[in-house]
Each structure stands twice: as structure tokens, then as C-alpha cells.
Symmetry: C2
Subunit: 355 residues, 2 copies
């Protein structure tokens, strides 16, 4: 079993790659509040997840280092003295990876190798946690999907995550760098980018509702997914980091309560008390890319790490709406009336997005 996270990180050092992004910043805040000395690495690539405002609550308590994960000499310094390394930096857009595979290969694969080489050379005693994606599985062969399921990714982004995971696993097995390999499902909550619809489908729907727009539900909306609130996800990450039995292991992080897109959208409109939803036709292209029903089997995480999500979809969406109502100007700028018509094509992309 894991140490109690309430005491495990006090006075410990932690490096978070991609720490200005959605999950990274929530993790940084949680670790800082647990008394850890946090260094955040982020290259702030435009249109990726990084946002300085994300770290506002801890801005005087975390060290921010702007640099690219591929920066070998910088990484060689940054990893030194870190008790924990949380590796969240990456290109995360499925569609972009299909039009240009190189950012994914360079950032997600080469970047991971740069980090692991830095650890091998300068800090092999660090404990590393990697966050990959449920997209590594591709279409589900059976449901719920457990960690033994075949991995047939449908895009270069998902391949790059699988490759990064396998690289870290080799560094765990061959070079002894203790690592936990997580495969995250659809994560939502505060501090996600809200400017475009290319990743983070649940949060994008929240924006549409808050802009009083219509959310489009493709087909009959019956496709199932599991959505996991970001605070639960952060807890999975830190709990696994202090669970020796988790080292070298792959875990799903998600929810075993599947939700249809229709139910999701109805809940969002209810919770936001704004917006609406409507049915829309699948395009042939979207249909081909749609991996079908997916929800995670989280038994392994529950049994070995002692983690399971505690936030219901309604609770998570309440918190999400509350955060963006308060801080909307830091995430998107247009007033609803201004953007309603102009941005409809972006809204149409919504169900094609992946976490």
C-alpha cells in the first residue's frame, strides 16, 4: 500500500514536465500544498495546454523553468536532486498528429528519451510517473478495458504515448529507474485550455454551454466514455508515486461508471444552467476515426494503489463551471454573442477531440 500522501511529499522535491498545462498545474498546486518543493518545466508552445494563470494559487511557492522537454543540457540539470519526476509534457492532439507526425515524435518520444537519459545519468534514484492516454488501446476489444488489452492506437499521438510508456518501462527494467505508467481516460476540470476544441472534449462542451451555444451530439449520442475529474486524477498520480508495488506497472486511471455523450451533454447543460444541445450527423471521416465505446477497468489501480475516483460527474462539472465562471477571462475572451456564429465550425469538431 501507499504511504499517506498527506505526509509523503512534505519537504520532498518534485519536477513536473508540462507543469503549466491542465493536469500538470493541478498537480503542482496539490504538491505545493502538501509541502513539496515543486519545479515546473514548460515550453509554453502556443495552442498546447500551458497557461501561466493556471499556477496563480502557488506562484510564489513553485519554481518555474521555461524550457523544452527536448533540451538535453537543461534537462541534465533540472532532474538533479529531484525525488519525484512527473512527466506530463507532450503534444496531445490526435488530429494534428495525423496531418504532421513530427511534433509527436520529437516532443513525446524524443522528449521522453531525453528525460530518461537525464535521469539515468544524473538522478537514477528519482521516482518517475508518466501519464499516457487510453487512446493507446485504440478500439476496445471488450469492455471495460483493462491493462492487458491489445494496444492498437488510431493516431500518431496515441502511438507516441505508447512508445514513451515503453521507453520508460525499459528504463525501469534495464536501468532501474522506478516508474509508474498511467493511461488516463477523459479528464476534465479546471485549468484545461478552453480556446479550441482539439483536445479535452468534456471541457470544450462546458465552454459551449457557458457561451450559451448549442452542443452537437453526433449520431444518437449513445457512445460511452468514462470521465474522470482532474482532482481525482491528481490523486491517482501522487498516490501511485508513493506506492512501491506500482513501480514498473501500467495502470488505467479513469472511472468505471460509463457515461454516454448524450448523458454528458445533458448533465453539462443542467449544471451550467446555460447552453443547449442538438443531434448532428456523423461525417464519414469522423465515423472512421471514432473508436467506439470505451471505459476503463480501474481494478488494478484500486487494488495495488488503493485509489478510486470520489467525485461524481455532477460534482466535477459543478466545480468546473464554477472555476471557469470566475476565471473565464484567463481562458477564453469572446463574449457569447460575439462568437456564437463565427465559431460554429470549431464546435462541430468537438466530439472528434480526445484527451
Amino acid at each position: 500500500m501507499s504511504q499517506a500522501v498527506e505526509t509523503a511529499f512534505k519537504g520532498k522535491t518534485a519536477l513536473i514536465t508540462g507543469g503549466m498545462g491542465f493536469i500538470g498545474s493541478n498537480l503542482a498546486i496539490r504538491l505545493a500544498n502538501l509541502g513539496a518543493k515543486v519545479t515546473v518545466l514548460d515550453s509554453m508552445i502556443p495552442d498546447y495546454g500551458g497557461n501561466e494563470f493556471n499556477l496563480a494559487p502557488v506562484k510564489d511557492r513553485v519554481r518555474i523553468n521555461y524550457c523544452d522537454i527536448r533540451d538535453e543540457s537543461a534537462l541534465d540539470y533540472l532532474v538533479r536532486g529531484q525525488d519525484y519526476v512527473f512527466h506530463l509534457a507532450g503534444q496531445v492532439c490526435h488530429l494534428m498528429s495525423l496531418s504532421n507526425p513530427f511534433p509527436d515524435i520529437q516532443i513525446n518520444i524524443t522528449g521522453t528519451a531525453v528525460l530518461m537519459e537525464a535521469l539515468r545519468k544524473f538522478n537514477p534514484n528519482a521516482i518517475c510517473v508518466y501519464t499516457g492516454t487510453r487512446g493507446q488501446y485504440g478500439s476496445s476489444v471488450s469492455l471495460p478495458v483493462n491493462e492487458e488489452a491489445p494496444t492498437n492506437p488510431k493516431g500518431i499521438y496515441e502511438i507516441s504515448n505508447l512508445t514513451a510508456e515503453k521507453i520508460i518501462k525499459v528504463y525501469n527494467d534495464v536501468h532501474g529507474i522506478r516508474s509508474v505508467l498511467l493511461r488516463l481516460s477523459n479528464i476534465y476540470g479546471p485549468r484545461s485550455q478552453m480556446k479550441h476544441s482539439r483536445f479535452g472534449v468534456c471541457n470544450w462542451f462546458v465552454r459551449l454551454a457557458m457561451d450559451n451555444d448549442a452542443i452537437q451530439v453526433y449520431g444518437d449520442g449513445s457512445i460511452l466514455r468514462d470521465f474522470c475529474y482532474v482532482d481525482d486524477t491528481v490523486e491517482a498520480i501522487i498516490k501511485s508515486a508513493v506506492t512501491p508495488k506500482a513501480y514498473g506497472e501500467i495502470f488505467n486511471v479513469g472511472s468505471d461508471i460509463p457515461v454516454s455523450f448524450l448523458e454528458l451533454v445533458k448533465t453539462i447543460v443542467d449544471v451550467a444552467k446555460m447552453g443547449s444541445w442538438e443531434y448532428a450527423e456523423f461525417s464519414a471521416e469522423r465515423k472512421a476515426q471514432e473508436p467506439g465505446d470505451f471505459y476503463s477497468d480501474i481494478t488494478k489501480m484500486r487494488e495495488i494503489v488503493g485509489w478510486s475516483p470520489t467525485t461524481t460527474l455532477e460534482q466535477g462539472l459543478e466545480k468546473t463551471c464554477e472555476y471557469y465562471r470566475k476565471n473565464r477571462d484567463y481562458y477564453w475572451s469572446k463574449a457569447p454573442a460575439e462568437r456564437a456564429l463565427k465559431d460554429m465550425p470549431a464546435a462541430k469538431e468537438a466530439t472528434a477531440t480526445k484527451v
Copy 2:
């Protein structure tokens, strides 16, 4: 079923990446003899497999283009007008990939993406065959190993091959570039590099025997592998290229007759009529890296492509020894007496090598 290879390639164009290497050059010769217009691409990286002498039999009938698989603008030209692209270029050393992961990521992963992007943009109608490795499986879960087995590679080299395969599969599925994905077992025969022991274990043993050295057999020599003669392998490659049902599919290429290392070594010494063998202890490090028994299930290849190997181990080794007896000076230079003592450490590496 496949078209008859005897007529299928007449007047057709074919690009072979890594075409000066072991399998690539044997393929180039076969295709040229079948009447194809062959272009060979090779960057001739020192200590990799490239050797100009490999193409001696067809040197006036194939076009040689020296360039790196990562050379985007060159590839954009080279792929044009090719009916077939055989993608064999790569870093293939397991041990090297564990001390430096970047050549594998750059050459095997990025290089594959460069090739597939060139095809997507400039020749999406080409048919592509990729040769990966049985190392993509890692340790066998059950024997013989079929294409549905889990893929848990034990090194960065093997990960890079798996990633390249998955990238090509996405280009097949999403961009319609018809591709066959092969996973080769231990291939041996003429035109392999013979200068060092870092890959091509069977051929390295042939060299040791021909140098009248002792071949070391680790442990009790009972570990099983399947060895496939290079002419059979070439036939698998070209037959799958002209089998429409093979497009988008993964196939093992090997032999379903497993052979122990002890049996292999005894056969080599018998056939070479030189050399000897002796037992040696596994080092702890080698033991950890040794993936255990492995032999391929080639049922899928037999049923869909109509291919199975026809060369026995004895026949293959006879041909291999004959080739290197005749052409030894083009592959290694030292006389037996000269190198016997000096090179023993290299010989000790032998069983750690992978195809």
C-alpha cells in the same frame, strides 16, 4: 492469394531503403532478376549493415542513391513513381539502443515517418512492405508466438521497430497507403555484416567457425530460436507485397521448426568443417536481457500469403559458408591466427545479439 512473383515485378519500379544491407541487398538482387527497376537507398552508416559488395551481382542493373532515410526533401523525390517501397533501413543493435536511444528514435521512428509522409504526399498508391523484428514481442507468453501475442519489447531498438510498424499501420488505415507489416525472426545467410557480433547471431557463429574459433554456448544451450534463411525471407517479402489480402496486416516471418543454440552451433561446426564450441556461463547482465525461448507461429503467413520457408538449416548454412568462403575478404579481413585471441571478448558477446 498472391500473384506469381515470377511475373509480378517485371517492369515494375521498387525502392529499397537500406538496400545495401543484409536483407535489402538480397532483395534487390532478387527483384532485379525478376525484371524490376530497383532503386536502392542507403546511408552506409559505419558498422551498420551496408556493404557495396553486396550488390556486386546487379551493380549495373540497380540505381544506387546514397542518402539518409531522414532526408525529407530527398525522400520526397525518391518515392515518386515507385510501385513498391520496401522499408528495411534501420539501426538494428539491441545493446547500442540501451546505451543511446536517439539513433533508434531518429532513424527507425522519425525515418519511417519521413518515408510515410513522402508517400502520403507524393505517391499514395505505392505498396509498402516493412520489416520489423520478433523482438517486438519481448519474452514469449506462449509458444509458438503468433501475431496476437502481447508486445513488450526489451530494448529501445525493439520499441522503435514496434513504433515504426504502428506508424505505417496508421498510414495504411487513415491515409490508404497499402502496407504489409512483417516481424522477422532470426535471419541468416549471405551478405550480412560479419565484422562485429552486435547483431546477426547465426552469421556471427558462422564467422567464428570459419575463423576456426570456439563458439561459446551459454548455459546448457537449450534456449530455442527459429532461424530463417535469407532467400526464404526475401520470398516472404516479395510475395506479401503482391498479396492484396496482406495489406494492413501483421505477419511473422520465421520458421516453425525451433532449434536450440546447442543444435545450431553443432550444425554450424559440422557444415563449416571448422571451428569448435564450448559451454560458457551466463553473466547476470546477459541473463537479465535474455528473452528466453522464442519461435514464430507462421500460420498466418502460410494461409494468407501462401508462403513458408523451404530451406533447411543445413542447406542454408551450407550456402552461407560457401558464400563467405568465396567472398570472405569483402566481409572480414583478419586471418584466423591473427584474430583468435584478440577478438575473444567480441565472441563472448555473441549470444546477446539479436536480428
